[in-house]
Subunit: 557 residues, 2 copies
């Protein structure tokens, strides 16, 4: 059947590769595209014939794979992700959050102009008539669209979902075209720093609950940063571009950053140096704050003073929330995205903190304040053992976010609604990165991962009939116990034991004719699976009691 | 940034030309016209907004909406769906299932030729260079692709995810372009009917656990159906098309179905009548099976006998699983999809069973057997009160599936692998339909839905400072209690009470200066929220005990 048309798909695949090459080298591929389209029409016709002539599914031929930059999450991975998500959800709902579920694609213009240069990475749906749509690039823009569209003035929401970026995937480094994001945002008016402090408390609860090891939260404020630029004499129109240069201080030494400012971006060298005096500063909140507040020049800049007042309030609240010691006030943190208007932060995991965090010799820092981040970030580990490309959410960061007070209003305004400002502060937990850290730690502990949670295997000996095993399984299912058995009418004993072992099922219920006649079964804990290993011979239990017996044992385990 | 809208006029001109062409060639241009109207509206809005927007993110204009056929699931809806999913997941994992998570888009050719005429409903991603991809149309084809690609010989998996169909949406009827599917499949060799019976047991566990009311499972076997066609003398090449005509018996009377067979599909009238004698039969498994097995002509057709032997085995197992009484053996069930090879089934909900289920007078049925389905399906209710378009998963069906033994092998073969057959049997639970039934029942009970699960509101009186409320909230969070409070430094009491009421938060912890000085707080159960309504004045509790006190109360509730 497949021979009828198998040559066409091969030709198409060949053409597709050819076209890919041509496009990558920016050559004209139009004639190849026409050829391909023609072949595809032929193929369709052939399939239609095949279908009409009684073929169930038509005939085709192709390579079995997922699209470039995407993967199947296999059972073990899917289960671990499920556990990460439910841990995070549990914390978000504890903090008064609801969840919303927006479509995976949005109208093209909703995403347009939100991501600067990265807009070229947006996936478009093909124009099959009707509206032009694109796959969502993140969860923040759909959230802002939702808030504006529904005219909400306040909402606390979390959203865990896949987002899409037509980036050059580096599978080995974990940079994918389809990946999960997990966002928590608090929108609405609050007195200064109240929501900001709670979001940081939530971040700490999440990273602690996930048990991934030490982390530090780098913290800064856009207004302080802008105040410094103003003080240093950066022209207003250069503020954002200079800001993004500063943001690179965790990836490159000051000398290179200064070069980018002066040579590439035409900033006066003296101005760059004044910036350098500040952006090298980092340390525990209180100390650095004191130092900056004693800086009369800086305090004379209204924006800077506002930012410093905010930080003072924030630190007071973070102390109440018991997470102040996790913070590192870091003047070099600038964050790429344009839409931040207040505090900004990035959580850095010990396994991947860059050396710049511990010490950045080439930065002129009159009085470097030793930082917790430093302690928990050995330079040696900057190699990022688990091989995840950190560019996905910033160097080494496992969570990042900040305050963005204008995004929702911009949507409302653009839609011609009365431009209602809805201030927002939020965080995106880097779940893919968290996943790979947990996976790495698990491997370190040499734990066996399971793809399913089955608790009991019902095993028949001496030709116990299938219906009897079904009957016992039903008894267990009715009692909420996760149970499985061989789908064969007369399975061999070794095959059944192997199945139970292969699936690492903690308990086996053995049905044997003689015991069944006496109304009993034997319950055996799989070696090494049960906390108390004393019952390797198994225990004889009344069939009528077996469910209660197992529930108790499973609860203990 | 204005580039975001500058191309609209060009798009409009292009569309106008395209529409002209289409009209000249007498083709349908409605979607192009819709698109042009949408663009014109955008342009108008853009002109109105021109210059008015100096936002940091650039000026654009558009209508704030989700794409046609998609919706945002708001907090209440998202939470109810979350509960439905976790109920179903709990049952699937009890039955030894893992879950996998496949990409939301697949290579275009993976989906090609799987959906017959419906292939035109597949969403394609636009060709931005690289592979041609399409959004998944269901979860079955990606599952078969996964099994074949990984060379698996057996797997039990569930998958809950969104699927995409470029159908003409009927929002009022719940027919969407993006909607959830929930599939459970058992793949691999088993002795006859073992997995088939367990899938049906799973369906019954799910529909019972969801508490949606009465349901019946219509059951049939492709081999019996094909045997009947063979006996009646249907030409082999007409089998599938006649089968799909039979499938319409739940939507139209026999007379119309016969007309479709004879007039439209050119079947001999006498042959149609012989079919009619069988497809009108339905009833509890045992009785109808007996009747059919006593039919010598039918038993003489090998395929039919095989199918009837299967059914006999199946009913034996279903009895052990305690779900036999839910089944209605129904010869008129044929199911649209081509790939079924064995048993097929559809679960019908009482609220939407079509009259044809109770009685189909125009079907010549020599000895109609009364059917449980009938009892639970008043003809009057065929109107489908909750307004869900049943065509999405068959008339009134809330779950549907069957055995498909060739799909995985077809993928392996098409990929040029050694064509390994992996027999599969599975079910798709119509979660969107289940959702609307539960929503309808909730409205019937006039229950207030909540979008979040917050348990305690921390309320401050007499100018209790913000930090104190933060401190108490922290105490509650640390004890796993879901708590919230006003984000204002000095909130008015009425505003705080209103917040607690608006969110239907069951408990309020009241902080007042005098009580705090004495180390106590007052815990008040919101009226009507607490099981025991006796404590409307609230109860004074030591601050040090309040967490334990609330945990106990919440556990009881």
């Amino acid at each position: 059947m497949s021979t009828a048309t198998s040559s066409i798909p091969e030709q198409i695949t060949a053409l597709q590769n050819r076209i890919k090459e041509l496009k990558m080298t920016k050559q004209d591929a139009s004639s190849e595209i026409d050829q391909m389209k023609a072949l595809k029409d032929q193929l369709k016709a052939a399939q239609k014939e095949a279908g009409a002539s009684g073929s169930a599914l038509g005939a085709q031929s192709f390579t079995l794979k997922t699209p470039k930059g995407t993967i199947d999450h296999k059972p073990e991975a899917a289960l671990l992700r499920k556990r990460i998500f439910s841990t995070l959800e549990g914390i978000f709902v504890k903090h008064d959050a609801c969840t919303i579920d927006t479509p995976v694609f949005e109208l093209k213009e909703i995403l347009a102009g939100k991501y600067g240069e990265d807009s070229k990475l947006i996936y478009d749906l093909s124009d099959q008539g009707g509206e032009l749509c694109s796959l969502r690039y993140d969860l923040t823009v759909p959230f802002a669209r939702y808030v504006a569209m529904n005219g909400l003035t306040s909402i606390k929401r979390y959203h865990i979902g896949k987002v899409y970026r037509r980036d050059q995937p580096v599978m080995t480094k974990g940079r994918m075209r389809e990946f999960y994001q997990c966002d928590f945002d608090m929108a609405g008016n609050c007195d200064p720093m109240v929501y900001d402090a709670e979001v940081l408390r939530v971040v700490c609860e999440c990273l602690t609950a996930l048990d991934i090891g030490e982390y530090t939260i780098k913290l800064n404020h856009r207004k302080i940063l802008d105040g410094i630029f103003e003080l240093a004499g950066v022209p207003a129109d250069k503020t954002r571009t200079i800001s993004s240069a500063v943001d690179k201080l965790d990836k490159m030494p000051w000398a290179d950053v200064k070069k980018e400012m002066t040579v590439e971006k035409g900033l006066d060298g003296a101005i760059a140096d004044r910036i350098g005096q500040y952006v090298g500063l980092k340390g525990p909140g209180g100390e650095l704050l004191e130092k900056l507040r004693s800086d009369k020049d800086l305090m004379a800049v209204p924006r800077a003073k506002e930012g410093l007042d905010d930080m003072e309030t924030l630190f007071r609240y973070l102390k109440v929330y018991g997470v102040l010691d996790k913070m590192s006030f870091d003047m070099s943190l600038a964050r790429g995205l344009d839409y931040y208007t207040g505090i900004i932060y990035e959580a850095i995991h010990e396994s991947s903190a860059p050396p710049s965090l511990t010490t950045n010799p080439s930065v002129p820092a009159p009085s470097k304040i030793s930082s917790k981040a430093g302690k928990s970030a050995p330079a040696s580990s900057s190699k990022n053992e688990d091989g995840i490309d950190e560019s996905t959410i910033g160097v080494g960061s496992i969570a990042a976010g900040g305050r963005y007070d204008n995004l929702v209003g911009m949507f409302a305004e653009a839609a011609g609604k009365k431009a209602e400002q809805v201030p927002c502060v939020g965080v995106s937990i880097g779940v893919e990165r968290v996943y790979s850290i947990m996976e790495m730690r698990r491997r370190g502990r040499e734990e066996k991962t399971r793809g399913k949670e089955t608790e009991v295997y019902v095993l028949g000996l001496g030709g116990v009939e299938l219906e009897k095993r079904m009957e016992v399984a039903t008894l267990l299912w009715d009692n909420g116990i996760k149970a499985s058995f061989s789908p064969k009418a007369n399975p061999k004993a070794p095959a059944q034991w192997k199945q139970a072992d292969d699936d690492s099922i903690p308990y086996v219920v053995i049905l044997a004719p003689k015991e069944l006649a006496a109304g009993t079964v034997r319950v055996k804990a799989q070696v090494g699976k049960d906390a108390s290993g004393e019952d390797n011979k198994g225990e004889e239990v009344k069939l009528s009691d077996v469910a209660a017996y197992l529930k108790e044992r499973l609860a203990k385990a």
